[in-house]
Structure formats: C-alpha cells, structure tokens
Symmetry: C2
Subunit: 336 residues, 2 copies
C-alpha cells in the first residue's frame, strides 16, 4: 500500500510534513494540509501503525495473557474478567491483544509484544515470565498473586486463603469431618493458598487435616474441568469416606453432580458440595442450586486494567489489590 514517501513525493512536500498533517503534532498551513490530505486520499494512504509504534515506542494496546483451556471456550470467570478489562481499557483508548496461545518453554520464542503493558492471568510458582517483563520494562499486572509474594509486583486477587478458610469452616461447622478437595492445578499459586486456608479451618476446629483429601487438576489426565470432577468423584468415593467436596469451579461441580447421579447418591443428602468459582447463572440453574463463591471476576478485570493504566503512566506504580469475594449459600450443602 501507499507509504508516507509516496504521499510526500506526489504532494511535493517532505515526509515530516505529511507526518505532521496526520499526527497534528506541529502546525501545517491550510493549503499544504489540504494538498497532502487530497493526495493521501487519492493514493489510499493510511499511516502504518507498526512503523509509528516503532518510532514513538507506544502502541495503545494492552496485552492480555490468558492461555485457553483445551476445550476452547472462555469460562464464565474469563468472560467476566474480560468484560472488566475491556471497560477500563476502552475508557482510556486502549485496545486489547488477546493472547490465548499456549505457553512456549523455548525462551527463544519469547518476544516483546506490540503492547504498552500486560495483564497476565494465573501466574505460576516462580513464574519466569514475570521477570522477563521486568527485563523488557513492560508494565505488568497479575490476576492472581505472585508466588513467592513480592512487594514490587502489582496484582489483583481474591483472598483465596481466607475464602478457603471460610468454606472449610462452614463445612466443618456443619459437622463434616472428611472432605474431598478438588483443587486447581498444583502449579497455580491459588492452589497453595486454598490448601492453607482449608488447613487453617481444620486447625481452628481441631480436626486433623489428613481428613481432607486434596487432589489437583491435571490437564494430562482431565480433558475438561467437568471431566475432572466426574472422574475424581468416581475414583474416590469408594476409597475415601468423605461427606463433602469442595470443587475448584462450578464446572467441576457439574461433573461431581453427574457422578453422584450415576452412583445413586443425592445432593445434599449424601454429599455436600461447595464450588470456589461462581458462575451465578450456572450455579442457580443446577439442581440443587450450587452453594458457591462469587469471585467478582469483572471487578478483578477492571481493577487490573485500572492499575495497569496507572502503571503505564507512571512505571513506578505498585499496587496490590484484594477484591472481595463472598460465599453464597444455596442448596448443595446440609448439616450432618
């Protein structure tokens, strides 16, 4: 397509002048402006965003690192969190580079993207990527806390330890003593926090923590979260005498529910279920309605966006933001 050179030549002016007509960064006389614009139109010229970005070192794009699960569709958590990010970014004129590609181990493949800042979901333990962004001087905000904790890294998160504590406490108070915990995958920091919270509940109530059986999602063994719930339930119900299960997400709970039906069990009569990530509509549609935790994903996304924008203005900015979450009591638990 036509370049700034073509326009400059045909209009009989310098590139700098053409540049200024479009960027309005320095005043150009009306006659010249008109001539340039008309030539540009004739040639079908539009400034090249990439070349411009390279020169000014700014893209007005925010990167969103959100590797997609194998099944492919965005989870309700991801959608809501995306909604929050979009709102905040749109408000400030930023667009979003949605990066759903799987992570590459090969350092060689890692490049600095055409973005002014990055929001990264689900940081892992000792996540290499964090320091890479630091080296590249690209402002970064995590959704989920860094592990180990680091007061120089900005992030938004729920208080997962506390949440798991509340859930554990709720179930223990109801009289449950043996609990199956279908946790997220073991390399996620949230998994650690949850186990700690659950353990604290057991400690406080004076119940030995070995009465809790913790499992982890593993994409090698489970194609989908629902399958994770289903398979784990089918495999565990004989071996361990648990009366309650804490599920990573409502999708996992869906799988558990399916398993209980096949096993002739009834919820909550024979088994109590709590899910940690809440898709309100799903939770309310399930039979029985699912007791679950509302993570306020949209708020997480919006706060991440807000902090990132702050940080792109002033790179010194560090903010760690805990978003309120809430256990919502519905119908899937009962007192023993």
């Amino acid at each position: 397509m036509a370049t700034i050179d073509d326009v400059a030549k045909l209009a009989g002016v310098s590139k700098g002048t053409v540049s200024s007509v479009f960027s309005k960064k320095r005043p150009i006389s009306q006659p010249v402006t008109d001539r340039v614009l008309s030539v540009a139109k004739e040639l079908g010229y539009f400034p090249n965003h990439i070349a411009r970005s390279l020169a000014i070192k700014k893209t007005m794009i925010v990167g969103l690192k959100m590797p997609i699960s194998k099944a492919g569709n965005l989870s309700q958590f991801e959608i809501q969190m995306l909604n929050g990010v979009i709102k905040e970014c749109t408000k400030h004129g930023y667009r979003i580079l949605l990066d759903t590609l799987p992570e590459h181990d090969d350092l060689t493949q890692f490049s600095s993207d055409p973005v002014d800042g990055v929001i990264m979901l689900n940081p892992r333990k000792h996540d290499q990527r964090i320091e890479r962004y630091e080296q590249m001087r690209i402002p970064l905000v995590l959704v989920g806390r860094p592990d180990p904790l680091d007061s120089s890294i900005s992030y938004v998160d729920n208080d997962n330890e506390q949440l798991a504590y509340e859930v554990g406490n709720y179930l223990l108070t109801q009289g449950h003593r043996s609990i199956l915990f279908l946790n997220a995958s073991s390399d996620m920091t949230v998994s650690v926090d949850r186990v700690n919270g659950l353990k604290r509940a057991f400690d406080v109530q004076g119940t030995p923590f070995h009465n809790a059986k913790v499992m982890n999602f593993d994409r090698k063994h489970h194609a989908t979260p629902t399958e994770y719930g289903y398979i784990s339930m089918m495999q565990s119900h004989q071996k361990i005498p648990f009366t309650a299960v804490v599920a990573d997400t409502d999708r996992v709970a869906l799988g558990i529910l399916r398993a209980t039906r096949e096993l002739g069990m009834e919820v909550p009569r024979d088994l109590s279920i709590v899910a940690l990530s809440n898709d309100v509509r799903l939770a309310e549609e399930m039979t029985p309605k699912l007791t679950s935790v509302e993570l306020s994903a949209e708020m997480l996304g919006a706060e991440a966006g807000r902090i990132l924008i702050q940080k792109m203005i002033d790179p010194q900015t560090v903010e760690q933001c805990i978003v309120d979450a809430q256990l919502i009591y519905r119908e899937s638990c009962r007192t023993l």
Copy 2:
C-alpha cells in the same frame, strides 16, 4: 531494554547473526549460537515484535473489530462469536487484537493496525471501512453481509431475510395480523434484510405489510437493548393494536416482558413474542421461556476465522458463507 545491537556488540558478532540465532532462518554454528544466547540472557534481551513485524510485514495477529455497546458488557452473541474466532485463530497460532473502541469518523485517525487480517462485525450500509481495508491490502472478512452486496467481499452471515420470513410466517399462520417489529438500528444491513423477509411473509400470506409497525434501535434514544424494548412497548401499545412483537434480541424481549408486566398484560395470552438473537440460557430462564432464533454465533466466528486465515495465505480467496440458524419454539407465542 537491550536491543539486537547490544547483543551483537557484546557477543562480538553482527546483528544478522544474532537475528539468525533467534529466527533460526539460517544456520549458525553451535559455539556462536551459545555465545549469543548467553549474552542475550545476560542482557535480558528479547526480540522486539514490532521491529520484526515492520521488517517482515507479518504480525501473526488478527484484528477483531467489535465496537462495544455503551452498557459495556459483551453480549452473549459476541461472546460466542469470540469463542469461535479464538478457537480458529489459536489453532493456527494467531492472536487477536480486540478492538472495542468506538468508530472514529475522522479519516485522519484511521491507521493500518498491527494485524495480518481483520474480522469486522456489523458492517453498515456503504461501509467506508471496507474499501479502506481494500486499499490497505488487508484481508477482511465481515460478520454480516456487505450492503450493497458485493461478490468480491468475503463474509459470513445468517440468512436473515429467510429467518425473518420464517418468523413472520409463523406468527401470521398463528393468526396474528398486526405485528410490532423492534428491529436493530437502521444503519445495519441486517435490519434491511429482516424487513424484507418479514414483508415477504406478509405478501405470501396476503396480509398488507402496513399492518407491521417497524421500529429501529437508536443509541441516542435507548441506553440499552432492554430499555429499547421497554420504552417501545410502553409507547406503542396504546397507539397500535398489535398482538405480536418480534424483538431484535432476547435482551430487547426482556424489556418488552417487563413492560407487559407493568401494563398488566400476560405473555403469551395477551401478546406473543419472538426474539431474533438467541442466548439459549437467557431464553430458557425467562418466564415464559422465549421463542427465539438460534444464530449459531460460535459457528459464525469460527467460519470467519477460517476464511480469514485462508485469505491471509491466498489474498485472492473470496468466500461467502451462510450459517444455519433455527427458530426454536418455546412458550412465548400462541395461536389466536
């Protein structure tokens, strides 16, 4: 951050060599490779995607033009369609530049984005943007047909004329003679197609088309689709004696439903409703369950992605793809 020059200098090689080590486009001896890599690591060097894109004229990014409604959240249609695009793009290693920014009329503000191709939602009549992409030689696929039709433009769409015909025919067959049609905004091509389809139904059944009252969504008057439905219903029910209403989307239907409740009307006893865009879960949750059209948004997105990828390989590609949609009969209509 460190550039290719820094690495080259410190490693005592040329930039071309460093480039080759990372791109693997030409073989570099093991010792040199090792030296370069170790220096790169020491310096925290990562190739700059923007500079690279400028040189090779390729970004591996697909643009998705999807201006966000004022309310802010993605509609169910948009989410599903995004899911389809994501799946297809991820499969081929593309990322997505999600552009939710409102359109700018100022030609001067239009630039060629850092993308290899573009998927554009909701093309308008004589949409200027289409020829701009053509001038920029950026492969383009529309979601929604171009207006006027143009056999050189690739797009995916439902057969909206036929769909509206089926809906009209259904209602007329049920005995409805006066119908309120809360259409999409008038500058969208889909609006035209729907009116034509509805008219055809009236013609076939021998009912004069002036018995259909067509209104259009207008963001100046309606803050949200739901409000559009609510207000239109409140304003029209006295003036026109319609027995059925065709709503642009299920959100609009939600507003209508709210209005009927306030007016002491009952659906479908006093009013039949059909919605043209279907969010399955919303439709099934409504009381009564909403008769609506399933547009297969995910399929639209996936097909758009597929065609675009095809087109980025071979720019000559032109494909126009009609995705099946289906009228799903639930509880919101009745025979008079």
